[in-house]
């Protein structure tokens, strides 16, 4: 079972690799759109990628309220626990 820290580490990796986000900007309360320059298409790509670690199908609606890096970590963790 992945801990929240593990999920954060994976997410950090994806953000750097897929969206060229500078590592020092990736903190839990960074906002995906405003601070990290993602757009809605990137968000869909990210959700698809997060499915790979959770091993569960994620519906985009489940991520609709996600605003920050911390929200993503929490949502994926909930999916793993639930």
């Amino acid at each position: 079972m992945l801990s929240q820290e593990d999920i954060f580490e994976k997410l950090r990796g994806y953000l750097e690799e897929m969206f060229e986000v500078p590592p020092d900007k990736i903190v839990l309360d960074a906002r995906l759109f405003e601070d990290l320059d993602l757009d809605s298409i990137d968000a869909v790509d990210l959700v698809t990628k997060m499915q790979e670690i959770s091993g569960k199908k994620i519906r985009p609606e489940q991520f609709r309220t996600v605003r920050t890096v911390g929200d993503v970590v929490e949502r994926v963790h909930e999916l793993l626990v639930g």
């Binding site: 690799e17 897929m18 060229e20 757009d39 809605s40 298409i41 990137d42 869909v44 790509d45 985009p60």
Partner: protein, 258 residues
């Protein structure tokens, strides 16, 4: 002469604005319902509506030129009129940009502010012409855009998302680049300039310039989005593609201003 000319252009500009709204409403009340009635399918309806819009705007621009309210320079129009099935991107200095481009190419569809679906003057046009709402979720948006491109329509996108600030470009959104890469579509770049500037963001229509403005629509060539597919992620390719296009626009505009 100066004052009289200015007054003439002021009245002309006011009439031009009024006729744009009225024209849209009249067409929506008369021509578009007829088109809907005689068109067997959505594709026919959209194609016919686009032609009506194209010819109306051609006439409109012709009138603006003949009444000497604007000048139009199309000496560098290049491949714009013959373009089919492409994503056409343009900078967005003025309110007249959409009208100009639609008058120059008969197969344009655009992604428009969802508020226009409620606008009494323009909702008939945007619905009948198959324009795409900007508030669709990204998967539905991608589907609507690919269908439009596959039918041979061009998709007009102003990547800044709003009108430019004087002589400069704002940051580009990346939606069009992702779409181009997903669909393997060519991106045609169009440069619009207006000198002296008029109808810019935040200016009321009646604040007209000292002399008659000249609009220029120029072809900046095309890029193949598929050249950017070799990056490990589409999201990276899209960023590079957008950066490349932004740079071309900044260079051209810097040359114009300098």
């Amino acid at each position: 002469m100066g004052l009289l000319d200015r007054l003439r252009r002021l009245v002309g500009t006011g009439l031009a604005f009024a006729s744009l709204g009225l024209g849209g409403m009249v067409l929506a009340a008369t021509v578009f319902p007829v088109i809907a009635l005689i068109s067997g399918n959505t594709g026919d309806r959209i194609r016919r509506t686009q032609h009506v819009v194209h010819w109306s705007f051609r006439l409109y621009i012709l009138l603006l030129r003949h009444s000497r309210i604007i000048d139009l320079d199309v000496s560098a129009i290049g491949g714009i009129p013959a373009c089919r099935g492409s994503i056409i991107v343009a900078n967005h200095p003025t309110l007249l940009d959409v009208v100009l481009l639609m008058s120059l190419n008969p197969h344009l569809r655009c992604i428009v502010k969802h508020q226009l679906w409620e606008n009494p003057f323009l909702s008939g046009v945007v619905k009948s012409a198959g324009y795409i709402r900007n508030d669709l979720p990204s998967d539905a948006m991608a589907r609507a855009c690919s269908e439009a491109l596959a039918s041979g329509s061009n998709l007009l996108v102003f990547p800044e998302g709003t009108r430019s600030h004087q002589g400069e470009i704002g940051r580009f959104h990346r939606g069009f680049a992702n779409l181009a890469m997903l669909t393997g579509t060519e991106i045609r770049m169009v440069l619009i300039t207006c000198n002296p500037v008029t109808l810019v963001k935040g200016e009321p229509w009646w604040r007209i310039p000292d002399r008659r403005p000249t609009f220029r629509v120029a072809d900046m060539g095309a890029l193949e989005a598929s050249d950017y597919l070799s990056y490990p992620y589409r999201s990276i390719g899209a960023r590079r593609l957008v950066a490349c296009i932004e740079e071309r626009y900044s260079d051209r505009l810097a040359k114009n201003n300098g």
